[in-house]
Symmetry: C2
Subunit: 186 residues, 2 copies
DNA sequence: CTTGACAAACCGTCCAGACGGTATCTTATG
DNA sequence: CATAAGATACCGTCTGGACGGTTTGTCAAG
């Protein structure tokens, strides 16, 4: 009986807090660091509390996946609304979002997704479905080799951001982005 | 006291076998499937035998890393030897190796590396060093934005191969490669 | 007073690594 | 060359701890 037991109940807030903490832990300590004990403790909630919101660990990971892909979904839609050119519209939105990811220091929750993604075969499958759905939806405008290549390059940059493996100068970064946008139009 | 205890001793062979099995397990069951018990059993070696070759689990993972980056290293050097043009030579070799990876069905051991890489912070650091070393070594010939972009795109394709997230037609694949080679020359 | 939102103790399993041993190989010495 | 003396390559069991999940209890709000 402590803290959360006596404070005003805000289940949605606690749920969000749990997801946030899970993401942070996965970044700092690797996917292996995401244990029910660690997450619940870091979120200031008991293990039972965590399991009340997510009945098992996979539910927690799925929650993370839904949360993050949901945000990505909305960000992409937002970008697409401001793009008058049909051809390659999805690809350019994708570029915007991915590039922004690397520049926003507190967007690390996204990066965590990729890591968990690769570790968990189940989430790999969900990601494959996500990609297939979008490739299908925008097959008319974004299936050219140029678009595909641009998205692959963005993924590569994403990976580099996650691993912090390259130190890319900001101006070069922008030049690369311009080149990829050009690719999406060809 | 069985099998390997009575057969002629072949430490190097056993060591190789252990690495191979570890890679296979990681692919089939995810990183969590790489336990000392599972690896030793699948390799036909006792747990003690495994721990004789690799004093702890991290040593095993490091062994995997060394083995795979070593192979990659040699493959790249081989490719570079056959390339007369200095500018972008490393990048083109990198492209060759990465593209070949996705086409060779039994090169899946490589893919496992990436997964373990992202999961383990320690290996992430080692990978960062590997990249930094090579970027440094070929700074004179392969540091142009075009080269960087080409390598990022290759990484993205690599990721797609691992996740099996995209179904890229073989002819499109080759067209993309040609375009990336052109980028490495500009 | 019922129900949702937690707490806290507990359980079974799995896993990394330690340990004490045994079999085979290598090397040095007589 | 023979062989003793180690060094090296394994075997198989045990343990302590971590981790996912369950159960039971508690409190606050409606």
């Amino acid at each position: 009986m402590s803290i959360a037991h006596h404070r005003r109940k805000q289940p949605e807030l606690v749920r969000q807090q749990l997801l946030e903490v899970a993401a942070r832990l996965s970044l700092e300590q690797g996917a292996a660091g995401v244990t029910l004990d660690a997450v619940s403790q870091a979120a200031g909630v008991s293990k039972g509390g965590l399991l009340h919101h997510f009945p098992n660990k996979m539910a927690l990971l799925n929650g993370l996946f839904d949360d993050l892909t949901g945000k990505m979904e909305r960000a992409i839609e937002e970008e697409m609304r401001n793009d008058p050119v049909a051809h390659g519209r999805f690809t350019r939105a994708y570029l915007s979002v991915v590039f922004a990811l690397g520049e926003d220091p507190d967007a690390q929750g996204w990066q965590v997704l990729t890591i968990a993604l690769l570790s968990e075969p189940h989430l790999r499958e969900r990601w494959r479905l996500w990609v297939a759905d979008h490739a299908d939806e925008f097959i008319g405008t974004d299936s050219s080799p140029g678009c595909l290549l641009a998205r692959f390059a963005a993924d590569g940059l994403w990976l580099a951001d996650i691993l912090k493996s390259h130190d890319v100068d900001q101006s070069i970064r922008q030049a690369m982005r311009a080149q990829l946008v050009a690719l999406s139009l060809q």
